[in-house]
Symmetry: C2
Subunit: 220 residues, 2 copies
Amino acid sequence: MSERVISPAVIKRLPRYYRYLGELIENEVVRISSKELSIKMKVTASQIRQDLNNFGGFGQQGYGYNVQYLYDEIGKILGLDNQQNMIIIGAGNLGQALANYDFSRVGFKVIGIFDANPRLEGLAVRGIEIQMVDELEEFVKSHSVDVATLTVPKKNARPIASKLEELGIRAIWNFAPTDLKVSDDVCVKNVHLDESLMTLSYNLRHRGNEKYSYNSYMND
Amino acid sequence: MSERVISPAVIKRLPRYYRYLGELIENEVVRISSKELSIKMKVTASQIRQDLNNFGGFGQQGYGYNVQYLYDEIGKILGLDNQQNMIIIGAGNLGQALANYDFSRVGFKVIGIFDANPRLEGLAVRGIEIQMVDELEEFVKSHSVDVATLTVPKKNARPIASKLEELGIRAIWNFAPTDLKVSDDVCVKNVHLDESLMTLSYNLRHRGNEKYSYNSYMND
């Protein structure tokens, strides 16, 4: 493997590879050529091969790729080969919706849900009882928590993110419509719903206008 | 204005400009220099000026930009200057959470919610009663619908998307973990929660590894 840095564009494509390969497995497809994969991924077959060469030689000349093997290997690269535990901070509508979402497909399990509203205490969501935020520290000390999902109002997001960092959480999935202020030690992935919707609005407004149109694969 | 096509990278930044300018307005900031904006946006001041020059000359040498004016102009470019109506298809946890989300900040109003489960019929979410999907056609004919949000199971997403296209809907905000098959006439914005979480998992797994790290601004 060369020493060059793997480009963000490649890294961005990995989850989509994983999703497509998962679908191929569901459809009992055993092998796939770079050409067939390139059609699904909407990148060239040559780009597919380059992408995958970053991580090792997965294909065989004339055979293509073994779907299950490629799926498993990309899963390892994505860090999905072990179960990872998630806690959700903010048990409002969005937090509860995420607690009900099935993340097992990508190896995540929700093990705790926290909120500041005492009226939510003890309410069970998907079998997990909502706890109060003052129990967060104790919980994080006694459990293995990989990711904290933030579904709190904008004004609470930064203080809570700082608290999570103090408690040793190193990955935050942030749904609050603001930037977090944490050190570079903490990985943050933002899901800015407003911005996503604004992008759709832009495209709808400028449909058919070649100068303004955004025709690349519009995926988050 | 030149005839060149506006790059996707610029278009991607517009919602973030809009969000930051909105925050500046909340904080009663009247004007901002390209340098100050560049710090918030994490792109160079020169890039800021180039970005905004795509859409007209908004700044004044030595003055910088008038925040309210820039906010309003970018709002127009994003298509947010008129109220837009959204319907939500799929009134499960995520659909209901989105029905409760405040999109008024970006000029959207939820005017209808639909599901196939008869047990949900008539249940009110944020004052809107859930209707059955067989009422969708009539509703779309008698209302002005700009965007349809899809929060249905994967297996229903494509059939429903095709139906929406038939009914004349030209923008779909898709939360189902699959690609939609609609014509180029329909703008689609995907929110692939699984893929977003997988990206976070990748970063957590490869933290500190320069070769594998993805250190650019990780925003959807």
